[in-house]
């Protein structure tokens, strides 16, 4: 079987453990500092590595976009075992919306000629959840969402796709875009040797022009969506304290039925 190229779309985000700030004019997240690998992408990286581990010669390539040339998050995924990374970095990308990002990533992915493209279902800083299918549409590829497992069968991919009731068994010809649900695999720790080797793995940096895209298609000017206002979330109410007077279990069941959990 011919060696397979697996692309994983990864996002580098501000560390959720550190205090975040918003740009006052665009209401977008300040991304000027150190960025880390989005935790939700670590599952896709792990799944891609598991697929690549089964066949010699298969390679996992990371594709990412960041306005400030940051590679810390990419190094984390390279330390886990990805072979190389392609980073689109350009000041004109600041403020790009989901569709603009999809155009950029699709152009970058096309250069790799992938057999399989894996992405998280959504990022943990933006949560739009629209990017992967936009990438698939731009590339003219089928897409399968919410995968809990992926296997390769010849030139097809078999996916167990999570649903509210259980999972569907879906089969698609490759190349294909598959989104992976968080928590379905245990992302590996990078080994010490992997961490030391990551610094010498290739990270190719491209600009928007390198991809043949026009700057007007990306950034704030190319965005079709605009964040017009941001307001603080309401603080949670204190809840209701129920004293168990022998009917505690019944009252819990009644409450769960009321909110339609059971």
């Amino acid at each position: 079987m011919q060696a397979m190229n697996v692309v994983v779309c990864v996002k580098q985000i501000p560390d959720p453990a550190a205090p975040a700030s918003l740009d006052e004019s665009t209401h977008t997240l300040d991304r000027t500092g150190k960025l880390i690998l989005d935790d939700s992408d670590s599952y896709g990286v792990e799944m891609a590595l598991q697929l690549a581990d089964t066949e010699a010669g298969d390679e996992v390539v990371l594709v990412s976009m960041a306005p400030n040339g940051e590679v810390s998050g990419l190094r984390t995924a390279l330390a886990m075992g990805a072979a190389k990374a392609l980073l689109v970095s350009d000041p004109v990308l600041a403020g790009t919306d989901a569709l603009g990002t999809a155009k950029v990533l699709a152009a970058a992915i096309r250069r790799v000629e992938p057999d399989l493209v894996i992405a998280a279902t959504e990022s943990t800083d933006g949560y739009t959840g629209t990017l992967p299918v936009q990438v698939a549409e731009i590339l003219g590829l089928p897409s399968v969402t919410f995968a809990k497992s992926i296997s390769i069968d010849g030139s097809n991919v078999k996916v167990e796709r999570q649903t509210e009731a259980g999972y569907d068994e879906v089969e698609s010809p490759m190349p294909v875009v598959v989104t992976v649900t968080a928590g379905v695999v245990e992302p590996r720790y990078p080994s010490f040797k992997g961490i030391m080797a990551a610094k010498s793995k290739p990270v190719e940096t491209l600009t928007v022009a390198d991809l043949g895209l026009d700057a007007s298609e990306v950034g704030v000017s190319g965005s079709r969506q605009e964040i017009v206002d941001v307001s603080e979330a309401e603080s949670r109410s204190g809840g209701e304290i129920v004293v168990d007077e022998g009917d505690g279990a019944d009252r819990i069941v009644a409450f769960l039925e009321q909110i339609k959990v059971i």
């Binding site: 330390a79 990078p190 080994s191 010490f192 040797k193 961490i195 030391m196 990551a198």
Partner: protein, 406 residues
């Protein structure tokens, strides 16, 4: 070197995640239950590929030994030293006992076999100790000879045909209760040297279950509960020459004492990193507590006596971190610390860790005395840094002797 590199920070973050996921949730079991630390240590090894690194290092050391190259093997200089020390620091933020159990097995027991053993002995015992497939103990201390370990040693090795008969008891032996492989120091008793203090020290390797060898149950201790410590009792244990490291008394002339002293320097450098882990954890917890604990309507961090404690902790952290960085730079320059330098580093760092941890207990007040807040465990653990691997008092004598000999 004044800060960790990007790769070193990545290693730190990965180990920190491992500690949060694998060690913190079971620290109560390790400290106060019946769970020995070896399962966690083996998982640590396999998770980060340390077993694979150990195998490569073993192969390189064996090749050098076979080629007759007596020089110490290069171990990757700065990268290797930093990797080891970062792991020590991070594990010690939560559970210093794990580091003690791991270090004694892989650095002291394995290190002695690899340095003083023949190629056959390295293959027989060294590899399994380096990969942590087997648990090692390093047995030198006796009940009546702690700081005077070499001079006052009473354990004997009496010639018996082609082999020896070993007798004697050892105490305070880390991993003693569970060790598969024991590096055992004893004095040659052949009647030719009248003064027992001057008799040659020989180093043997023993296996668990040998006839005449008894391993005690773990001691109950003030701290470091996750590091099992015990006694060894040897009664007419018969060994062949194949268990004498180097397989010859002439090769071992003076080598037993020297290999022990080499290990003293290794241990002392490691304790600087252990101290840094304890200090960093205490300081992090204390700053957070000082910001959030309210008294008379304001955070206790507003009070100057609390600020004084925090400032002293930060000074200690910077000093100890600088000593760790200095050690890494020394190694990366292909040099090693003298025993006196290692003693000075160990003396300062051990005292700093103990003081910081006790101050952390004080800063937390009543909560500090409760185990839920973790600092009391670190305070109990840090106290041993001033006792094992050479007491504070012995470090003083080594430093002073070196100064006065110039």
């Amino acid at each position: 070197m004044y800060e960790w590199s990007e790769e070193q920070l990545a290693i730190r973050d990965a180990v920190r995640r491992f500690v949060d996921d694998e060690v913190r949730p079971r620290v109560e079991l390790l400290e106060h239950g019946d769970e020995p630390p070896y399962g966690v240590i083996r998982k640590f090894y396999s998770t980060f590929g340390l077993d694979e690194i150990a195998r490569e290092r073993f192969a390189a050391q064996l090749r050098r030994k076979v080629a007759g190259d007596g020089a110490p093997a290069r171990r990757g200089g700065e990268a290797s030293a930093a990797m080891t020390l970062i792991a020590i620091i991070e594990l010690c933020r939560c559970c210093p006992g794990i580091v003690t159990a791991m270090g004694v097995s892989t650095a002291l027991a394995a290190g002695t076999v690899m340095k003083s053993g023949t190629p056959a002995q390295m293959e027989r015992w060294g590899l399994d100790l380096l990969t942590f497939d087997k648990i090692g103990a390093w047995a030198i201390t006796e009940a009546d000879s702690g700081s005077d370990a070499l001079g006052g040693m009473k354990a004997t090795a009496r010639r018996d045909g082609d082999g020896y008969v070993l007798n004697g008891n050892k105490t305070f032996i880390t991993n003693g209760p569970y060790a598969d492989t024991i590096v055992f120091y004893a004095k040659l008793d052949d009647g030719t040297v009248a003064d027992p203090r001057e008799r040659p020290v020989l180093t043997f390797v023993l296996d668990r279950g040998m006839e005449g060898l008894e391993q005690s149950k773990p001691f109950k201790k003030m701290g470091l509960h996750s590091s099992p410590t015990g006694e060894l009792f040897l009664s007419d244990v018969r060994v062949g020459k194949d268990r004498l490291l180097g397989e010859g008394e002439s090769e071992m002339k003076g080598a037993g004492r020297e290999s022990a002293k080499d290990n003293f320097a290794t241990e002392r450098a490691g304790i600087a990193a252990m101290s840094l882990g304890v200090i960093e954890e205490c300081l992090t917890r204390c700053v957070e507590y000082a910001k959030n604990r309210l008294l008379w309507g304001k955070p206790i961090g507003d009070f100057e006596l609390i600020q004084l404690k925090l400032a002293r902790m930060e000074v200690a952290r910077l000093n100890v971190e600088n000593l760790v960085f200095r050690h890494i730079e020394t190694v990366s320059a292909g040099k090693s610390l003298s025993l006196a330098e290692a003693s000075a580093m160990k003396l300062y760092c051990a005292q700093a860790a103990s003081e910081v941890a006790m101050d952390a207990v004080q800063l937390f007040g009543g909560n500090g005395y409760m185990s839920d807040f973790r600092v009391e465990q670190l305070a109990r653990d840090a106290k041993v840094f001033q006792i094992y691997a050479g007491t504070d008092e012995i470090q003083v004598t080594h430093i002073a002797r070196d100064l006065l000999s110039r």
